[in-house]
Symmetry: C2
Subunit: 127 residues, 2 copies
């Protein structure tokens, strides 16, 4: 016998727990004063879109999907904005029809509503 390290199977306790939600949606509902140069998602109507999205997700019977409001996601210029994790895909819905497109294409079918997606080019203007 020696004191050499013994190879062991991977310790399952070291793996992360399974995802608690299949899709976790965060809708920015930050509100700034009227006239703020960056605007804000709430001022652009995000709260009503969040409410609609929650109702429609429930009506569609989407399992494992959680729709949450969030504080400022810092992409105000493109608001209303939302982000879906774990995939980290961002959208900028303006209307209920846009929300429907995201619910159907992304959350129901596992695809993307590409015409509504933010990309790496949608960055906060400097200065």
């Amino acid at each position: 016998m020696t004191d050499a390290p013994v190879a062991t199977a991977p310790n399952p306790e070291q793996a992360d727990p399974p995802p608690y939600f299949t899709a976790h949606v965060f809708v920015c509902c930050n509100r700034r004063p009227d006239g703020h140069k960056r605007g804000s998602c709430a001022a652009a109507g995000s709260e009503a879109l969040r409410d609609y999205m929650k109702v429609r997700a429930k009506e569609l019977g989407l399992k494992g999907v959680r729709i949450n409001q969030a504080g400022c996601l810092d992409r105000c210029e493109f608001g209303p904005t939302l982000v879906i994790y774990p995939e980290g895909v961002w959208y900028a819905p303006k209307t209920r029809e846009d929300v429907d497109a995201i619910l159907t294409a992304h959350l129901q079918q596992g695809g993307r509503a590409r015409h509504l997606m933010l990309t790496e080019h949608d960055v906060v203007p400097k200065g």
Copy 2:
């Protein structure tokens, strides 16, 4: 020449954009009335912990990390709760020292503060 489909390189426009944040932290700041049977994260002190986490993340110079408040994450019984995406790891910090442990172990070193993690066994009691 035929009308057979032509093999094409993957369309880069079909890939998701790169992550906008390296780590996106959502701290539940939902507040229910005192005495609610599920309690709430805000009633358990989450707002002060969020404020502290934002300040400390900035002081530590963590790049690409965003600390946000969120509405009810629906794991109220274990609150205050937070979740870090894209990895989808949940924590239940009670104190500033717990927040420091998460900042250091997870966000700074890329590991886990395992003693503070929620697991698949931390589920909402039925009934």
